[in-house]
Symmetry: C2
Subunit: 194 residues, 2 copies
DNA sequence: ACCTGAACACCGTTCAAGT
DNA sequence: ACCTGAACACCGTTCAAGT
């Protein structure tokens, strides 16, 4: 990319971020182009779809998020790590309106610009889940897909203003479905032997 | 309403149902009007918004759904009733693409045509939840709003094709967060006495 | 009463033409 | 290489004019 184009790109992206923050995830591409003082066709050449634009807007946050999964895995007990991971996810959802809904639809579509990011979040979730399951502190009958789905459902929900205040509580309710309460079998009794 | 207008209304509604089933919840109102052989302005006079159209399309199903809550309350044990209610809700979500998402946004907006329907589902949910809580088989720290929210999150999720096949399993995972497992305290031991 | 065509202000897509 | 205006086919809203 030429340096003047790069500068243009950065400017457009900054304006887009402000426009999305201000007007919500459905601001028209035309509006963004207008606010950036650039032709609509130019905006669409940089970001052919809304998803491509969001991918660029979310990249840094998503990188930080998935990196956080590594840190949690290295520094925390399996159950604590998984719980904190869910908490980080909810914080991400609350901080980026519309992002979760977009990711939920993108995760099954390899052509989406957000596909790779979804796969990374999915993989991180599955890894933390498997670790907790191996340790016996998470339900064994939940798959990585299930967890990713539940995370999307929760993230989408708390994205709705009426439910945002209950985000933390709803997160703990969901966590209680995934994590096995220590009270139930802390003595490591084999559950169902015939 | 004049009888010819009534006939027109019914015809438009039938065509709209087919169009939504065929083309998804975002079919253009123009398309529906075209398929019904009626002016766009006429369609919009009957249904000023997409929500008004959906309210008419969903009314029978929603009535059946909330009525089902009464039946469950009368015929089943509190925990079974609540679990079955969640199951009915998921079936509703799977049967009416886009409905849950619309209801989730409508439930906090008294001006929405779907507001009353949302309130009815919310009330039914809260009633079944309270009954289960009183009986000690549901977590006490969940509110009716929480339950309605979780139901919306789950309903929205299973509306996405990749997650639909796991609907029943996801439902049971969520239920395990709400219902108290009999194994944990079937002997009615007071949980935390200092 | 009930319906409608048409004008309106929008949207994202596409491409030939400019620098 | 990079940008752009303009044409295009769409959308929902609105209203004066028809039966």
């Amino acid at each position: 990319m030429r340096s003047d184009a790069k500068k243009n790109y950065d400017h457009v992206l900054a304006v887009a971020r402000a426009a999305v923050t201000e007007g919500g995830p459905d601001v028209s591409m035309r509006d963004i182009a207008r606010q950036a003082g650039v032709g609509l066709a130019t905006l669409l050449r940089h970001f052919p779809t809304r998803e491509a634009l969001f991918e660029a807007l979310l990249r840094a946050s998503l990188d930080r998020l998935t990196q956080r999964a590594d840190e949690l895995e290295a520094s925390r007990k399996p159950d604590e790590a998984l719980l904190s991971w869910l908490s980080e996810w909810v914080a991400f959802a609350l901080g980026h309106r519309g992002a979760v809904a977009m990711m939920a639809t993108a995760h099954a579509n390899p052509d989406s610009a957000l596909y790779a990011a979804c796969a990374a979040v999915h993989a991180a979730s599955a890894r933390l889940l498997l670790r907790a399951q191996t340790d016996g502190v998470a339900r064994a009958d939940i798959t990585g897909d299930d967890l990713f789905g539940l995370m999307c459902g929760l993230g989408w929900l708390v994205d709705l203003p009426p439910f945002a205040p209950r985000a933390d509580h709803l997160l703990h309710i969901l966590a209680s479905a995934i994590l096995i309460e220590p009270a139930a079998g802390s003595g490591r009794i084999e559950a169902t032997r015939p």
